[in-house]
């Protein structure tokens, strides 16, 4: 049973995606094809498997940024 995702997290990820530029195709392997910004937002809103994956990507980055791990990692030799 996949873990429930809070509405707050959905809102944060959607807000971040909405802020991003339109001009990208995103591919997570071949399973979902080339996705537009609107596709990504819609997958997150609908809490699909791909939406969960996008949330994982965004949250991993946000956590690393907030904890300082990202800066430590990129500035380590």
């Amino acid at each position: 049973m996949p873990e429930e995702i809070s509405q707050e997290i959905i809102d944060v990820v959607v807000a971040r995606l909405e802020e991003s530029a339109d001009g990208r195709f995103t591919a997570f392997g071949n399973e979902w094809g080339e996705l537009s910004k609107q596709d990504l937002i819609s997958e997150v809103r609908n809490r699909t498997d791909l939406g969960r994956k996008i949330i994982d990507v965004e949250l991993a980055y946000i956590k690393a940024l907030v904890s300082g791990d990202l800066l430590r990692e990129v500035s380590s030799p």
């Binding site: 530029a21 995103t26 591919a27 997570f28 392997g29 991993a60 980055y61 990129v74």
Partner: protein
Amino acid sequence: MNITLIITLPEHDLITKYITVWSNQILNSAKKVGAKIIELKREKAIKKELLGRIKKLQPELVVLNGHGNEICIAGHNDTPLLRVGEKVFPIKIIYARACKAAQILGEELVKNGVEAFIGYKEDFVLRIDKYKVQRILDNEVAELYMTPSNQVSMALLKGSTAHEANERSKEHYKKTIQNLILAGPKSEFYQELPFLYWNMSHQVCLGNPDARL
């Protein structure tokens, strides 16, 4: 150096087309070190060709470009190339630019005689500037993803160990990430940060870290 490189170059969708075209950086490095290069392009990127060449040539390096999952890496038209349970002849190092293949398949390959396997525990994400789709090598967004990942094979060809090659590639990701953070949200590439961080975090080296071509 007597290195034989086998590289699969499928080209049946936008993503495989990008990965294949950007593999030119790897091919140029291989030429520079005088490696024997076997390119399995398009319809040649199939299981029969790959396993036949591996058996005959016992290559030091195999680069597998294509789609994948935990138990399988695919070739042209997504036909399976290598899957769990497959008997594989001795190969020193495999680099698989394919989603998730390091989760199960990579682990199994190193248990069964491949000295080192570099790949991804999760989906390999590729982003493309959709306004420059046809200008593959001028697509600066794609370049952010392809250049660091190409460093794995390029470093191996230059004599790095498997561990060093993986780290060399991650250094490129780190440099890119650092530059984007410094450029700030006004940079048109700032939004790539989560995806680049994702690819970097899930790229792993399995098996013998000291394996070298």
